[in-house]
Subunit: 121 residues, 2 copies
Amino acid sequence: MDTVTVLKAIADETRLRILALLYTAGDLCACEIEAVLRLTQSNASRHLSRLRAAGLLSDDRRGHWVHFQIAPTAFGRYPFVASAIDAARRDLPLVSADLDRLERYRSSAYTCETIREWASA
Amino acid sequence: MDTVTVLKAIADETRLRILALLYTAGDLCACEIEAVLRLTQSNASRHLSRLRAAGLLSDDRRGHWVHFQIAPTAFGRYPFVASAIDAARRDLPLVSADLDRLERYRSSAYTCETIREWASA
DNA sequence: CAATTATATGATTACATGAGCATATACTCA
DNA sequence: TGAGTATATGCTCATGTAATCATATAATTG
């Protein structure tokens, strides 16, 4: 992927939030990302596949669930992505709120399979 | 300027070319940028003002000519910009061609005031 | 002041993008 | 195999963006 394409992929608030979330969380399934960031299902899915198409995310299906993580090659190939995530963590207010919700979710007893109840609570 | 706005400002091939050019050249007037990158006058002007609005360029009018450079604060505030310029220099073919033309212009006797003749040659 | 040249901007057109809704597909389990 | 759930995708609408042409503004020089 060329530099411009990758830059366009990360030049979006929602996609930066996804990257910042995965940067902290390491690995999450689509429904967890959707719930923590409070996105609609189709919206989350579209942004995830755009990031994957740009080579920034890798995915891994486990039964119903598709788990995403930042592609192992992403930072090596596109160093500015790491740097942009860093900036987003510092100055995007939504990112802080997202990471708080991640923390709350993780310290609860909810999982992938019960996350819909968590989200509506 | 927030991270997303700055990322959108650099997520464009023409604007990356301008940044890469100024990164090497240091300081150029609008008509030089226009000629080296082979852009139309209005197109160059619009991209330049978008980069300036994002805080990435500073300008300095000297008589007829407005000189642009990368804003001294740009890399400190937005480290990913330096990193993206670096990537663009490595893999955007147009950037290499631009830098070649810069070199040819600089080693010629043409200046700001005669650049139109240079451009049409 | 008038003519000239550099730069900026309004108006338009073509195209890309993001969101939402509805629906399709992929997978599991009874 | 059929029901149910997770994810993907077609369609549409509203908005944003980049390019071009024409014109305006700013500065210099005669």
